[in-house]
Symmetry: C2
Subunit: 406 residues, 2 copies
């Protein structure tokens, strides 16, 4: 597997673009991804009871159709809590893209992100669909334009692409995603689009992406708020020319591995760019009784406001980590826990068998001052492990969210 430059246009036969069409005040606000040929489609979506109009549409068309050919995304307005009018507007958005590209409306996947409860400015979007369709391109730069156009409070665009072989055919997977608040994906993520030229059956594509998110997007959290719009979409157009993957053979495993690399990379970029974040915070739980307990423990640490503020303050206040593990619902013996912190600046054991070691606070602060820090908890109950990614809780998170709409 090789890491390459680019995002959704990296794989063969995919074009994209991103533009300012007039939904937001100034920044790019609409993106389009297009496959030259119909592509197998799969996706995972928010488990929030309150589902945005595009989420309802996508679940329906991905289920009912073998393939899709375009993904249209807008930022600025989430089209959630918008009732029947919101669903009509979403259909019009898909329809406008379909007409411009001369494909069926049911081949157009939609995604929206932004303020909840506002209607889409549908005239602007219908007009935008034409402009976007005309400017589609397969360059790396066009992929980047799309990644930029889906940003809201993100401070940087998020892309990743890799190549690997299926038989003698070089296959590419590329993707883009955006954060950065209301991030606590559950069976999904905010907005993510992955494109690949692999040939694979729709059933296996769906299974691969559903399994994948458990260890990637579902393991990140910025603020424990599971969005109404979380969508991860994958399109596979088969243009790599490999023999179609139709069973869980070595090719399938290789595809899953490469997919995991791309989605984990995007997920970590989302966590690191969480609203107001100054650093990426990773928690690794080892020695758990089973996978579920490992996941519960690592997510409980990563989401604790008290742990997150301590990480912001470079303060090795490990009692808060043990406290967050304690109320997580997972069963363990506090008197067995070992706790470490780690970064490029070194590794330090803070707790052994539930009690403080004689560690240097100064060294602990140095470790925690890095841009990426890791906490490792060994609960010594078994062999399961899980890793979660989040960020620190800062003044800027409060600032961004106290006046998000202004």
């Amino acid at each position: 597997m090789e890491i390459i430059k680019g995002g959704v246009t990296a794989a063969k036969g995919f074009k994209a673009t991103g533009q300012y069409v007039g939904i937001k005040k100034k920044r790019k606000d609409m993106a389009l991804v297009f496959s030259l040929v119909p592509a197998k489609s799969a996706g995972t979506f928010t488990t929030n009871v309150v589902k945005a109009a595009p989420v309802k549409w996508d679940i329906k068309i991905i289920k009912e159709n073998e393939t899709a050919q375009a993904v249209v995304l807008n930022s600025g307005v989430a089209n959630a809590c918008t009732g029947a009018e919101g669903e009509v507007n979403n259909f019009k958005m898909a329809e406008a893209v379909a007409e411009s590209l001369n494909i069926p409306t049911e081949a157009v996947i939609t995604a929206s992100t932004g303020v909840i409860g506002k209607q889409l400015p549908i005239d602007v979007i219908v007009e935008g669909a034409k402009i976007l369709s005309d400017s589609l391109d397969d360059s790396i730069e066009s992929g980047l334009l799309a990644a930029e156009a889906i940003m809201t409070t993100d401070t940087n665009s998020k892309e990743c692409a890799v190549t690997f072989y299926v038989g003698d055919k070089l296959v590419t997977i590329g993707g883009m995603a955006k954060g950065s608040g209301m991030i606590h994906p559950n069976m999904a993520t905010m907005l993510g689009v992955v494109t690949t030229d692999v040939a694979i059956s729709k059933a296996l594509l769906q299974e691969a992406i559903s399994e994948n998110v458990k260890d990637t997007f579902n393991m990140i959290s910025v603020d424990r708020d599971t969005s109404t719009n979380d969508s991860l979409i994958i399109l596979a157009n088969g243009l790599a020319g490999n023999i179609e993957i139709i069973e869980k053979n070595e090719d399938y495993q290789n595809f899953c591995k490469a997919l995991n690399f791309v989605t984990k990379d995007l997920a970590k970029k989302m966590a690191a760019d969480g609203e107001g974040a100054t650093k990426l915070f990773e928690t690794v739980v080892v020695g758990a009784k089973d996978k579920e307990q490992a996941v519960t423990l690592s997510k409980s640490i990563i989401t604790s406001s008290l742990v997150k503020t301590a990480v912001y303050g470079n303060d090795a206040n490990w009692g808060r980590i043990l406290c967050a593990m304690g109320y997580s619902g997972a069963q363990f013996d506090p008197d067995l826990v070992d706790l470490f912190i780690e970064s490029v600046d070194g590794k330090l054991k803070l707790v052994e068998n539930g009690m403080a070691t004689d560690y240097s606070e100064e060294f602990a602060t140095k470790i925690l001052s890095a841009k990426e820090v890791r906490a490792i908890a060994d609960v010594k109950m078994g062999y399961a492990t899980a890793t979660a990614w989040g960020c620190d809780l800062t003044y800027d998170y409060v600032k961004i969210n106290a006046d998000y709409r202004s």
Copy 2:
């Protein structure tokens, strides 16, 4: 029922005090509550797997003994994650108080709050126990000293007292509590002590307090972090002279009602004084299918970082409230929900049947600018209701917790 001045010394036969003994840098750090005669004891404690040494001690002695006679509390060090040494220190703290007051060690309930993972400065505490025992007094001022001595990041002390009649006897209930971070009580609260002179059986006293917390302390949250030290303790010494309450008659109901007033008042004071908070935020869910769903929904709203920052910014960003309800795990139809906000400045319907009404943003901001604001969600699924209390999420929460230990 009449509201009176005072706290833990309001009821007959209770003395208290609070002093600076040298655990913290400057502020009062040790408190003692004493009943002239053995008092029926009951309590509720944290459900965190990681339990502080005093919590383990209290659960044991309250279970094994009909009565207790003193509660000793310290702030500054939580005596949690301190292993066998922590348990020995906790015993020494109880023993020192017992010797000074000439009562059995098993009659001394203990409570600690502060930094996790540090050992108690036990010599200072043993010395302090004598000083405190010598300065016990039944005045209102002494009760206040105790309430002040258990504060950590609290900005004010929290007391409440009421009187009511059982037969022809005037009975008093008084209490004190402290917050204000790591507050998400689950079957308990940070530290709370309630004293009453009512005569009641131990079994009914425990049942009353266990039922009580479900609608009071367990319905508040500052930061979704359930502490290792949560303890709510109640002592009933019988000195009011009423015929002992031994069944769930009208006297029991009156007692529960008065107890509910005191604990709800203390709970709301804790929520309003949450770390960094500028206002009390109350969420009322009506029309839920059952009590459990109502509780789940109201707590999900009150704990959402995005809702809390919007409340701080006086921003009627109601989509975040619907979003928090949606990921709570409760089942409801988003298209039926009505949503209101309310304060001393008025009441406003923001959402009707899941969609925005044509409300005035200006008036919404005015309502949200009050010191106490309420969100009311009607989910129209049944007849159950629940109320939760929290606070806004502010710069100061981050500030306080980024350098808590310094």
